[in-house]
């Protein structure tokens, strides 16, 4: 109900606007026809401005959110008659006097636009021209193309899946033992040759032995195992160092 009321109201306001335009056009045409001798150019422009303003208002009205969508409204001709309808003629100012089969399709758009009609006609003649066999053939060809394409799209994924699956199953990309070896190498030189540059190391320097290493693997070289077990691990770092700070050379201390 509410919707209907809204629709009614909007149609009403629209008709009133349109009638405004109409009366403005009326008076303008009247002036053009009867007062053309006295008519000045500025007043013609005024008339045009009035018309354009009114058309703008209509446009705005149509674009308004509250305006129901007229496009979705269907008008159905309920009664057609070949007889003259005086009431109608009066309403339309003698423009349409008969509500007949001839004029309704045009006025109420129950017929497609001429261009659309033309296209539809072309398509149907084309369809009629091709025999059912040929049509069948074309359908088959299209289907084949599509399935081929689908297959092509699906297959590589299969390949990839199998590949990575194989990698996952068959080939390990890393070896935990190597990880440990490498980590302990950078952390405390395990597996690295324990050579010192000749010179500064005084033989028999206190603590020299324990300094060497704490790993059992290296026990043959150093032998001092126990002292490190508790203390050393803490001091023993691992890892390669890369230093974000020194990387930012821009703020390097030596750039005087």
């Amino acid at each position: 109900m509410l919707k209907e009321k809204q629709l009614e109201a909007s149609v009403e306001s629209l008709t009133s606007r349109v009638s405004h335009v109409k009366s403005a056009l009326h008076s303008f045409i009247y002036k053009l026809e009867n007062e053309y001798e006295r008519l000045t150019w500025p007043s013609v422009l005024d008339n045009f401005a009035l018309l354009s303003g009114q058309l703008n208002t209509i446009n705005k009205l149509l674009k308004n959110e509250k305006m129901p969508s007229f496009r979705n409204q269907v008008i159905i001709p309920l009664l057609l008659s070949p007889d003259r309808d005086d009431e109608l003629a009066k309403l339309t100012e003698q423009r349409v006097s008969v509500f007949s089969h001839e004029i309704v399709p045009d006025y109420l758009r129950t017929k497609p636009d001429p261009e659309v009609e033309e296209q539809e006609k072309q398509l149907s003649t084309e369809a009629a021209r091709i025999g059912p066999e040929l049509a069948q053939k074309q359908i088959q060809a299209l289907n084949k193309l599509c399935s081929n394409l689908l297959e092509k799209l699906n297959n590589p994924r299969d390949d990839r899946d199998t590949e990575s699956a194989a990698l996952r199953q068959n080939k390990q990309s890393f070896n935990p033992a190597d990880t440990n070896a490498l980590v302990s190498a950078v952390a405390f030189g395990k597996g690295l040759s324990k050579c010192r540059p000749p010179g500064p190391v005084a033989p028999g320097h206190p603590g020299q032995v324990t300094m060497n290493t704490g790993t059992t693997a290296q026990a043959a070289m150093g032998g001092g195992v126990v002292p490190q077990q508790q203390g050393q691990p803490g001091k023993i770092p691992s890892t390669i160092k890369t230093n974000i700070k020194s990387a930012s050379a821009s703020m390097h201390p030596y750039n005087r």
């Binding site: 890369t242 990387a247 703020m251 005087r256």
Partner: protein, 222 residues
């Protein structure tokens, strides 16, 4: 790491000469400094901020018995992000300011001799291409002496401009101009090696050690 891409610029230091200025008889340190400032300003030098050189002394704790060599860690406001560590007459390094943090970590092995901290503060003057720094050397908050550092910025080789430098120093220090700093004379390449920041620091260190050994000259200094 290979991320350290910056080039070292230690060598791009121009020639500096540091010397001690005796405090005038019967005058205070401050008075002598003021006289020097006045002389410099009369020559047309322009004051350009201040400077500070400091020196911390560390001694190793692990070697018991024999006296260990002293490790000096110095800073210079001219190179505010650097830190110079040196042994007297021995090797030295230039490092960044994190070296101080490292010394904190090393405190169980190297002890900071708190009372030995030396500081030298004063003003910088610019005269043409010369940079003159007049500083007061303080040890445990007592002024011990006056240092004058003269740098001839365009020249990197001490041997080239020593005579020129001497003439300049005579112009405001009078005839009592010091000899060529020994740090340059002892270099293997001789006088014509490029000057380094460490050379300047070595001169300061020598000056500090000389002042440290000398007795506080009684009434001359307040």
């Amino acid at each position: 790491m290979s991320l350290m891409r910056s080039e070292l610029h230690f060598s791009n230091v121009s020639f500096c000469s540091v010397c001690q200025v005796p405090v005038a008889e019967g005058k205070s340190v401050q008075h002598t400094v003021d006289v020097l400032h006045k002389k410099l300003e009369q020559m047309g030098s322009v004051k350009q901020g201040s400077f500070c050189v400091d020196c911390e002394t560390y001694h190793a704790t692990n070697v018991s018995g024999q006296p260990s060599k002293l490790l000096y860690v110095m800073h210079n406001s001219e190179t505010p992000r650097s830190c110079m560590a040196l042994y007297e007459g021995g090797p030295c390094i230039v490092a960044d300011a994190n070296f101080d943090v490292l010394m904190v970590k090393l405190k169980s092995h190297f002890q900071n001799a708190k009372g030995h901290k030396v500081e030298c503060r004063g003003s910088r003057y610019r005269y043409c291409d010369f940079l003159i720094k007049v500083g007061t050397v303080t040890m445990s908050s007592s002024a011990r002496g006056i240092s004058v550092e003269v740098e001839y910025c365009p020249c990197v080789v001490p041997g080239d401009c020593w005579n020129l430098m001497k003439e300049f120093m005579q112009s405001f220090l009078g005839p009592s101009v010091p000899e060529l700093p020994s740090v340059f004379a002892t270099k293997p390449e001789g006088l014509f090696a490029q000057a380094e920041i460490v050379d300047t620091m070595t001169q300061y260190l020598e000056l500090f050690n000389k002042l440290r050994k000398s007795q506080i000259p009684g009434s001359n200094v307040r």
